[in-house]
Amino acid sequence: MLCATSRLLAARAASALPAHPRGRGPAPRSRRRELHFPGHPELPPGDLLAGRFAGPSVSTGRRAILRRGRMPPAAGGGLAGSELRPRRGRCGSQAARAAGRDVATETATARSPKRPAPLSSRRFEAAGRWALLALVTLTSFATRFHRLDQPPHICWDETHFGKMGSYYINRTFFFDVHPPLGKMLIGLAGYLSGYDGTFLFQKPGDNYEHHSYMGMRGFCAFLGSMLIPLAYLTVLELSRSLPAALLTAALLTFDTGCLTLSQYILLDPILMFFIMAAMLSMVKYNSCANRPFSAPWWFWLSLTGVNLAGALGVKFVGLFIILQVGWNTLSDLWHLFGDLSLSMVTLGKHLTARILCLIVLPLALYIATYAVHFMVLNKSGPGDGFFSSAFQARLSGNNLHNASIPEHLAYGSMITVKNLRMAIGYLHSHRHFYPEGVGARQQQVTTYLHKDYNNLWIIKKHNSNSADPLDPSHPVEFVRHGDIIRLEHKETSRNLHSHYHEAPLTRKHYQVTGYGINGSGDSNDFWRIEVINRKFGNRIKVLRSRIRLIHLVTGCVLGSSGKVLPKWGWEQLEVTCTPYLKETLSSIWNVEDHINPKLPNISLEVLQPSFPEIMLESHLVMIRGNNGLKPKDNEFTSKPWHWPINFQGLRFSGVNDTDFRVYLLGNPVIWWLNLLSIALYILSASIFAVAVQRGAHLPVKVEGLSQVLLRGGGQLLFGWMMHYFPFFLMGRVLYFHHYFPAMLFSSMLTGLLWDTLLRLCAWSLASYPLARCVHVLGILTLLLGTAYSFYLFHPLAYGMVGPLAQDPQSPMAGLRWLESWDF
């Protein structure tokens, strides 16, 4: 940077800048003082430097540029950074290479002698560009599809996402914490490639055997390969510089981490594809800003919306790119709003267009994915218990589907009781006692998410255990609001019981147990049943009535704390009796199954919830599921600060030296270069920003580069921050692969930064051939360096067999640069 700044000073002095914005005459001497950089207050006054640097070696072309530099760039007069931006660049890739339009037009004449651009050479250049893009795409596909079938067994999370793909093919309902789009696409890819959904995907390491898995892997690898051309185009659009784009593409192609993550049946390649596509279309759309409402403008704008919906539909992490696009749109609108030449009507059109394309369209698409999801999955499956009773009625095969059960609860009925809070489950008990030291040593009562005989309870009168209530000679007696009842566990014949002992996990609540023998217990078994929404009269309706059970003796309310019991409780959820009478969902229940031979069954078709209700419910369940993924004590978890330094990888496959091992780890050369680049970027960008704020007028060429750095680079840095820092706030379990979207942005920033810095350096060196040489050499070094590091580390991604890295015989010997890498 130093070389660049001193060069700046020289240029400044040589071109004797104007004293005030409009003036064209030579500057008064006294103005010189402003030109120093705050960082180098002791630098000698410009004349001397100018004599040394800007001497005879300055070419005529350069001089012309410098002289043009007297014109204050349109942006130079602004105060804050935001007002600096010359608003619009050119549309499409055929635009001139300079960043700002104003700068570009102004320099057009100055440039012409240096770069004559006749039509033929331009065509040649365009062809070269296309060839380069094709080359980049080809390399990326080649690296991603190389040895895609290896290993032919389940790797890491393929066990989840492959399984979920199969669920779509089999149309069985399941529950996952991520939105459905990604898994639906995987399922679709599998379906189209002839996979029949019969493979079980039980655990990592299971062999695929005859099942066709290449379709799904190929689909993910295809999207993973597309990342590189997308990044290439994005950087090209932001920097208008082929070397920068090329460098970015190389960084991503040769990164072992991106490669590994793209080769398996995972959500990440799909997510990253949508993120990058959204970024590219946003950038493209930004450069169309000078032709609003034209066809390309609409195209890129709506494509942005489509990709946003895609990103959010795969994982909730997609929210970050939405925020980024949102921020970009806001600042865009802000600039339009400040443009007094636009009427309010035009502004209204602008606003409406964005609302339509960036809010309404994505939302519609997102909802559509759910509609498809619910339509496809119409069979009962492993996810049922996570959802409310009403929801389950939709699923064929579920016992609530087209169910006909007695409507009103009567004494003697056998019931299951479900908590109304999402993903808590059914009131449950089993033949195990609370361990010693955890309250009274009586039978455990928990909540359980799966359907099971142990969820069945019999509702009885508190004072009579007499005759069999199912005896037909007894009249049917309905349970009413406010009745005192007893709940007897069917399998063990113990009563639901509570007493003044602290609950196992929530110390301030009371313990709930199963007590008594064959239904005879004590007065602590009495509960008052209350209906909360009493619009159905005093009787208690199956499924519809929201009930509370209040313990008669202590006055506490039966509820579930939602905490997971330790091993002794089979990791089911804790049930407590809470003395705080606040009305929360966790202490409200409904009756789901109901068996009573004395009552007539009625059909419960009417229950089916509407689509918005299903949407809301499935989102609540997903959020709860995400929050539930908490790290346990003494578990080694990945911390966000580990990620950018490539501290530790993830084992995709294989442990021992005889196994086929795949290890997800970034290419350390690239990752550490990225890290360095972020620091360098912040440094150089702040130097430029301060220089502008101090009123320094930059030479045109430097001005253009600084615009690329501040605007293009700023967007990329913002993207990196948006995709990285929120993880510090997340309480859930985090994994290394969460960093990869941020890594894409960071690599793009690296490409853009090094190209710009090398250009600056080259510019500060005097003669044109030498400058070009420096630039080309620098870029080449970086390209070859990354390629060589990929050659070194490629076994991580393509798989390795043989001894572990600490063994000198290993293929990776000497490459375990950090002790925490275990390959």
Partner: protein, 725 residues
């Protein structure tokens, strides 16, 4: 000079009178009957125990906040001559006669009282009228929740005081920036800003939000200074350096100072020792220091040691073994090696002693001179009481089946060879030839045959393992985690050749002599780290609430109930003030956006200086509210209404600002203005009235009849205690 002085004397006197009156009223409202009730009120029970610890100089660890706040409360106790002898166990317990209640509550009350004139000054410095300033101060004065909170031995009022002080001194600084930068006055306010910020952070971590806000405003102002081209580069640099020193470096130093004083004061060991590392414990008087005093420093072959796990989760424990073996078959049908159990045991026990043995020799005693163990040496660990060797092998551990079982080897003659060699890996070594030191060295034991690492899995074993914690050999993991790290706590050189003598020796206390010190920075970083990571049970509380309940005061906290009558103290705000402050914030936000958009279209409703004033007031007051309120949505701990009070104070400051703005700029005619003034007066009267009605619940000085209490329950969600007779 004289003329300059004479003219503003009038003005100054006027201001002073206002201020004096406000201060006096503040003092009166906060100090009146301060020693009543003479019983533990609400969270006093929590802070009180720490005050007692300070009085007795006993070390404690409190994860809720840095020590400055606790120290201030303890200062009150010190001035009042408190000896720390009071059992803080129950809310409502009568104070015994040795507890100087008045002086314990004095500092919070004084901070609460001084917040009143400070509110006045802040609004003045923001450039608004005396009338608005007085209004702000009066609102702070009569706000019931603020009164309640500052009359008790609690920290919120002190936090609010320093928050306001930070904002006020920054404003004074930035106002003097225009006229006389680098004057003594300029320096004074700049430094005071830094100090006040760090005091706020030192009381509660949430103070950091106000600090960040002030830093943010300062950064924007500094950016303008950079853009000011009338200043020379050197001068700009001086400006930046001065700000960096006073607003970044100084607060860090002051924060460290709090911990320095804290550690200086608390030099005795106490109940929280166990959470800290052995080295830290050894630096306290009594406790572990008494045991380890005079131990040999360097561990040698033949040393007898106890090994403590550094992680200390779920409980601090020592590597342990005993005669019992692993059950042949576990409950789930898996088999074990049936060798002697190795566990981690949270209590001192003779079975925690291990002897460091050289694999090449048979002796279990220390040579003369002792041969120290170094990083990378291969050792065997002999269990002192059973003389079996620590062993691990490819058998799944009882509860963590992915890891190896660790046992003390028993030879059953079943072709399962002993694998009892461990390589010593000193984690915090300075060089590769470092010697293994007692207490100071953090070591890992890497198994030679399988390269597994000795690790505490933290899972309690079932009954057959006496509920001690499981220890495993971790194969997969090679990164650093504290649960794989151990340190020697007790240590002596073994002297006895015979098993019987050795057992006697193991039972005897350790002795011999050397001393060790831990530097302040080491102690500080350990303490700070533990404070941030210590986990308190996030228990549900009867009066806990969510941030959404706070804005419109939908909740309250019953602080205290008289043991016999129905006199009671509640944390209950003045509903009129809370509601109108929230409305004012909303109005500010809407007006701000409106003006901003209009300015963007070059329509300037406000003159430039008015606009800047309006923006600054919003940045500090509305911003102060936002930064002190919104982060609570992300916090997972149990929240209470009093967490909102710092945010509320900023919101109250905004209220008169908005009112004055409406009257000056939005009321077009004189008539409208008069009407508006009348409205404001009526509104203020009603606020005073409400404040007066709630007074019995604020001071708790007057028993109310059940009907009166019922009448006070304006919202169903309020919990007012009504005695049943």
């Amino acid at each position: 000079m004289l003329g300059f002085l004479q003219h503003p004397v009038m003005v100054t006197a006027e201001v002073n009178l206002n201020m004096v009156a406000l201060t006096a009223m503040g003092l009166l409202s906060r100090l009146w009957q301060l020693a009543y009730p003479r019983a533990v009120v609400f969270d006093e029970v929590y802070y009180g125990q720490y005050i007692s610890f300070y009085m007795k100089r006993i070390f404690f660890l409190d994860g809720s906040g840095p020590p400055f706040g606790h120290m201030l409360l303890a200062l009150g106790g010190y001035l009042g001559g408190f000896d720390g002898n009071f059992l803080w166990n129950r809310i409502g317990a009568e104070y015994s006669s040795n507890v100087p209640v008045w002086s314990l509550r004095l500092l919070p009350a004084l901070s609460g009282a001084l917040s009143v004139p400070m509110a006045y000054e802040i609004v003045r410095e923001l450039g608004f009228s005396h009338c608005a300033a007085t209004g702000a101060a009066l609102l702070v004065l009569i706000e019931n929740a603020l009164i309640t909170q500052s009359r008790l031995m609690l920290l919120e009022s002190v936090l609010i005081f320093f928050n306001l002080l930070a904002v006020l001194s920054y404003l004074k600084f930035s106002n003097s920036q225009k006229h006389r930068p680098f004057s003594p006055r300029w320096w004074f306010w700049l430094v005071l800003t830094g100090v006040a910020c760090s005091c706020a952070v030192g009381i509660k971590y949430v103070g950091v939000f106000t600090y960040l806000l002030v830093l943010g405003v300062a950064a924007v102002h500094a950016w303008h200074v950079i853009g000011d081209q009338t200043l020379s580069n050197v001068r700009v640099l001086c400006h930046l350096l001065a700000r960096a020193a006073a607003l970044v470096v100084l607060p860090i130093l002051v924060y460290l100072l709090f911990f320095y004083i804290h550690l200086l004061l608390l030099y005795r060991s106490g109940p929280h020792d166990q959470i800290m590392s052995s080295a830290f414990q050894a630096s306290l008087e009594g406790g572990l220091a008494r045991v380890t005093q005079g131990q040999p420093l360097e561990v040698a072959f033949g040393s007898q040691v106890t090994l403590k796990n550094v992680f200390g989760q779920p409980v601090p424990c020592w590597l342990h073994s005993h005669q019992s073996t692993y059950p042949m078959i576990y409950e789930n049908g898996r088999g074990s090696s049936h060798q002697q159990q190795v566990t981690c045991y949270p209590f001192k026990d003779v079975n925690n002693w291990w002897i460091v043995k050289d694999p090449g020799r048979h002796q279990l005693v220390v040579n003369n001179p002792p041969r120290p163990v170094r990083h990378g040496d291969v050792v065997q660990l002999v269990h002192g009481m059973t003389t079996r060797l620590l062993n691990t092998h490819d058998v799944a551990a009882p509860l963590s089946p992915h890891a190896q079982e660790v046992s003390c080897y028993v030879d059953y003659n079943i072709s399962m060879p002993p694998q009892n060699l461990w390589r010593l890996d000193i984690v915090n070594r300075e060089s590769d030839t470092d010697v293994w030191k007692t207490i100071l060295s953090e070591v890992r034991f890497v198994h030679v045959n399988t390269s597994a690492i000795l690790k505490l899995s933290g899972v309690p074993l079932p009954d057959w393992g006496f509920r001690q914690l499981e220890v495993v050999g971790e194969k997969l993991f090679r990164g650093y985690h504290e649960s794989t790290v151990w340190n020697v706590e007790e240590h002596r050189y073994g002297r006895s050749q015979e098993q019987k003598e050795r057992e006697l020796e193991l039972h005897s206390p350790t002795q011999v002599d050397i001393s060790r010190n831990l530097s302040f920075m080491a102690r500080f970083s350990e303490l700070q780290w533990r404070m941030l990571t210590v986990r308190s049970d996030d228990s549900e509380h009867k009066y806990s609430s969510t941030p959404l309940d706070w804005v419109m005061l939908d909740t309250n906290i019953a602080y205290w109930l008289h043991p016999r009558t129905s006199a009671q103290i509640h944390l209950l705000g003045n509903v009129v003030i809370w509601a109108s402050a929230s409305l004012a914030t909303l109005a500010y936000a809407l007006l701000f956006v409106w003006y901003l958009l209009r300015r963007r279209r070059r329509v300037c409703d406000l003159p430039e200086d008015r606009w800047l004033r309006w923006v600054l007031a919003g940045a500090l007051c509305a911003g102060g509210w936002a930064v002190n309120y919104l982060p609570f949505f992300l916090m997972e701990k149990t929240l209470f209404l009093y967490h909102y009070l710092p945010a509320l104070t900023f919101q109250i400051l905004l209220l008169p600002v908005v009112l004055e703005h409406v009257s000056d700029h939005l009321c077009r005619s004189q008539l409208q203005r008069s009407l508006f003034t009348a409205l404001v007066v009526a509104w203020f009267t009603s606020a005073c009235h409400v404040s007066n009605m709630l007074r019995p619940l604020t001071y708790g000085d007057r028993p109310l009849s059940p009907s009166e209490l019922k009448a006070l329950r304006w919202k169903d969600s309020w919990d007012i205690l009504i005695r049943r007779y």
